[in-house]
Amino acid sequence: METSCLLVKPGRKRFKSLVVKTVFLILGRSFHAASKLDLDIKKEIETWDEGFKFMMKVFPESPSMIVEKRKGILVYRGSKGGSADLTIIFKSIESAFLVFTAQCGTCRAFAESRVIVSGDISKAMSLVRCLNILQRYLFPLFINRFILKRPPSMPWYKQFIRAYIYLLGVPFGL
């Protein structure tokens, strides 16, 4: 008698997937808002070519976030748009969830090989510096102290940029 062995279809992780999709949306819109106002981010992206595209995604294909440099600022292009010049790939939805819920910093995620980079490494270093600045806006200092090696400084006038990101950038994509 032949042994029967049925195919197994693993389930979904809908909640974690939703959280990661939401954070990608917040990050994409925050990149756009911050690139218009923050001088440090402006200085970083000055060296990027016009039309330079970067993508963050979770293996194998989704969710994802695509951001493009257009007319000197970063523009959020949503989750679809083909290839990019630089791609940051989370190896699993669990890795992305750890990072996006501030349980694991970006530098620790790299150190634990939870994330891989495809593309020009020097551009990736520049992008990580932008990401660190952005995280400083998005999270309070006590969380930043946990997830960043050394949180970027936050002078008083940057509170206006933070307010803009929270009130107009993230909700309306401005």
Binding site: F110, A111, E112, S113, I116, S118, S122, A124, M125
Partner: protein, 394 residues
Amino acid sequence: MLPSYYEFYNPVKIISGEKALDNLPYELNRLQVTRPLIITDKGVTDAGLVKTVIRAFAESGIILGGVYDDVPSDSSVTVVNDIAGVFRRNECDGLIAVGGGSPIDTAKAVNILVSEEGDNLFQFAGHDVLRRPLKPLVVIPTTAGTGSEVTYVAVIADPSRKVKMSFTSAYLYPRLAVLDPRMTLSIPPGITAATGMDALSHAMEAVTCLQKNPISDALAMASIDLIGKNLLKVVAHGRDEEARLAMSNAACLAGAAFSNSMVGLVHSLGHAAGGVAGVPHGVAMSIFLPYVFDYNMEKTAPDLARLLLPFGGPEEYANTPPAHRARRTIELIRALRQSLYDLCQLPRTLKEAEVSRDKLEAIARTAINDGSLTFNPVEVTYDDALLLLREAYD
């Protein structure tokens, strides 16, 4: 302390010791290679080392597919294409790299072209682009420093675009590394010292940087122990076979450690100083090690303290109060650099390495975009890097 998650991989078979080279035909047979192509440089040929390799094939029945010994010190895509042509014309089925970093990286890149049957190396640049196992590659290092015989990286220059392309893939690991003391006996003291300090920097950064893990730690600590006992010996007495073999093993152990733990700021500054001012890699490592460890002290003191045991020996470790061990490790690195300067004038500062002061800004700018910086335990800005370079200048 265990990291919450880590990965470790190294599939390279290592054969090491007296007459190790003579077992190469057997190993090639095991890998089903019948016509290997030797890739090396003129320095290696002139030192008579290629003859030693060829002699190992006597009575083996293997016919060598050729010896390509025109690899320059900074290998380029043109050389890679040229060698791939030789490989195809001579119907070779495996590669043997004999030399230091350049012939080894070249052989890895040639292997990409001949295995993927392509003629455009660019399309395989980057991380994890390769999708299938490559042809067997054997590495016979003739320096004890880079550890390239057990790493998965190759860097090749593209002169037309004036860039260096980096290839990283698990498929780039060689299948076999042969550590034979005969292959390193003729290295002059200056290169012996610089490559030895390169190995030391690999091992020490492996223990102190963010991607460290228990396996890389064990390999790195064993490497530091061997370097502490043998580096000065081989610089002073180059014909000491036992010490030479110990240093080859140390470099290999450090290579296996750092290709899994990665390296940090010492290498970021070193890559930048090499690219901008032409400072040889090992020399740069030797210059920057103590300055970077001072800079990283706030986060790495416990790890630096642990290094004292393999580096200084058990008596030194026991006689140093626990609170002073990290600082003592740095003092011993400085003392080693001074001894190497006394023996063979290995530069201790950027000024001694003939770097002009006006290049420091460019080095700092390049260093903060180097990928190794990701794994440094302390954040580094442009201003921090520049300050460190000024300290290391004179």
